[in-house]
């Protein structure tokens, strides 16, 4: 059986049937952050508590990565097999916009304002076969690509 580990602890709930991103909510002004942080970027309060963020939202903007990034990028691709990836901000209504990988790569299949849902997908495979998992967002109409 393949061992799967999250890219880091405390970024999303894992393992879970319905994974959620972990952020923080300010007890004083209600501002949400992603990831969780100890001070509020809006009012400066320290009353930040960890919360599970919404797993659905809309695509605020996006781009594609057309060249293999240098360090600190930790993907396992090489120049020869780099297929690119899409990145966007998904607006979780009333909470926060999160920067995320998108499961769709073709810009033609992405549309600003389209509904998106959280998924957890493999990011890279370690030499011992362990799969490192990351959060990503998929177009909400597409139900076939969850890990």
């Amino acid at each position: 059986m393949t061992t799967r580990v999250p890219i880091a602890e405390g970024v999303f709930t894992w393992p879970s049937e319905q994974p959620r991103l972990l952020g923080a909510r300010c007890g004083d002004c209600g501002t949400h952050t992603f990831p969780a942080q100890p001070g509020c970027p809006r009012c400066g309060s320290e009353a930040m508590g960890t919360v599970e963020l919404a797993d659905r939202g809309t695509l605020f903007t996006f781009t594609t990565q057309g060249f293999l990034p240098k360090a600190p990028y930790a993907g396992s691709e090489t120049e020869a097999d780099f297929a690119g990836y899409a990145v966007g901000y998904v607006e979780l209504p009333g909470e926060v916009m999160v920067e995320t990988r998108l499961t769709a790569l073709d810009p033609g299949s992405l549309r600003i304002g389209m509904p998106m849902r959280l998924v957890v997908v493999p990011f890279r495979t370690e030499p011992d076969g362990t799969e490192v998992m990351t959060y990503a967002f998929a177009p909400a109409g597409n139900e076939g690509d969850e890990a």
Partner: protein
């Protein structure tokens, strides 16, 4: 503000072998001193800005004040400035404040840098971000520019063709600038067909890190005629940082509540302080890290309303000879971005344009009011307003 620029100097921008950033800085500083007709020993204070030494894998000096070893150990106060893309503007702001305070009358600001290809790849921990953010491939500044312009194009009807027109203009202007790095004009078609680096931006729409230096000599305004018969006056300089809700680079999360860019605040403060309006501007230098940035900065600085860029650029209004010439020296797209020097290059070009002796790329009609704007990581902007 009672401050004049009486000397400017530049080292060409590009890639150079067998020199250090300090060499480039010293070259630009000497040119500026020569232009003002003064010697280094006349200078009462100096600011120096260079960021390369702070970036991973660099062997450049981390201290601009090592320049005094090359220019002369005269004992003056020399302050190192590291303020991201606003480094040059921050030097001007502090230099102007020292003169305004009455403490000094004559000073030099010099910015320089030498960046290798891909030099802006910083580690997440250096900007207070978690390690996984870098792992996943988000620490790529070009993604930020692409996502900002993609949304802007959606909201305000800017087309890909207009993105290409901006880059083509800047390469064309660069071809007429002997100090520029990219001096080969490129057609809109060549720009659109170059590899898609980050949708919707292609390779030739981006500027690249490179090397260069620029310097200015500042003096108290009422003494300017001692040094030159064509002083240019620094009427205002303003630096602003991001507010909550601004769309910024290297942000795993952004506020749902949207706010404007720091360039909006910096430009508004600059115009207000100078007592002029954006309509008065005859020539402008805007941060064009890529073509989309120039388009968005036109409206963020108040030079036009959101969405007007499409028609303005199609009509050639931002060309030399147009109603509002922008980036007449080729901007960052043709000059590259040695961060510490970049904002000073903008000021250098405006001074030459207002003096009226910039040759082939001279804006016609004796421009009297010039404006500069930089924007960059980590969400900082600086604007200057210059007049004859």
């Amino acid at each position: 503000m009672n401050v004049a620029i009486v000397g400017v100097g530049i080292h060409p921008f590009g890639r150079f072998e067998g020199v250090t950033g300090l060499d480039l800085g010293a070259y630009a500083a000497r040119r500026a001193l020569q232009d003002a007709g003064i010697e280094w020993r006349d200078v009462q204070f100096a600011f120096g800005g260079s960021l390369a030494g702070l970036l991973p894998g660099s062997d450049e000096s981390v201290q601009a004040d090592q320049l005094v070893n090359l220019l002369g150990l005269t004992g003056i106060p020399f302050t190192n400035v590291h303020n991201g893309c606003a480094t040059a503007g921050s030097m001007l702001a502090m230099g102007a404040a020292l003169i305004e305070s009455g403490q000094y009358e004559l000073g030099v600001c010099v910015g320089f840098d030498r960046h290798a290809r891909g030099h802006f790849n910083v580690r997440p921990e250096q900007t207070g971000l978690p390690h996984w953010y870098g792992d996943l491939g988000f620490m790529v500044t070009t993604q930020f520019f692409a996502m900002k312009i993609n949304r802007y194009m959606h909201d305000f009807g800017i087309t890909n063709s207009t993105l290409a027109k901006v880059a083509a203009k800047n390469y064309r202007n660069g071809a007429a600038n002997p100090n520029a790095w990219r001096r080969k004009p490129l057609t809109e078609e060549e720009i659109l067909r170059s590899p898609m680096l980050n949708y919707p931006l292609t390779q030739y729409m981006f500027c690249s890190p490179d090397e260069g230096a620029a310097a200015v000599v500042l003096c108290r305004g009422d003494t300017a005629h001692r040094y030159t018969d064509r002083p240019v006056y620094l009427r205002a300089v303003s630096v602003r940082t991001r507010e909550f809700g601004s769309f910024e680079v290297f942000a795993p999360g952004l506020a749902v509540e949207r706010s404007h860019s720091p360039s909006v605040d910096a430009a508004a403060a600059c115009f207000e302080h100078a007592g002029v309006t954006p309509d008065d501007v005859d020539v402008a230098q805007l941060q064009d890290s890529e073509s989309g940035a120039e388009i968005m900065h036109m409206s963020e600085t108040g030079l036009c309303a959101d969405g007007e860029q499409e028609a303005m650029i199609r009509a050639g209004e931002t060309e030399i000879g147009g109603r509002l010439p922008i980036n007449t020296d080729g901007g960052l797209i043709a000059n590259g971005e040695p961060v510490g020097a970049s904002g000073m290059r903008q000021v250098h070009e405006i001074v030459l344009q207002l003096r009226g002796d910039v040759g082939e790329r001279q804006v016609p009609g004796a421009p009297r009011v010039g404006f500069t704007q930089v924007y960059g990581a980590p969400g900082v902007s600086c604007c200057t307003l210059l007049t004859t």
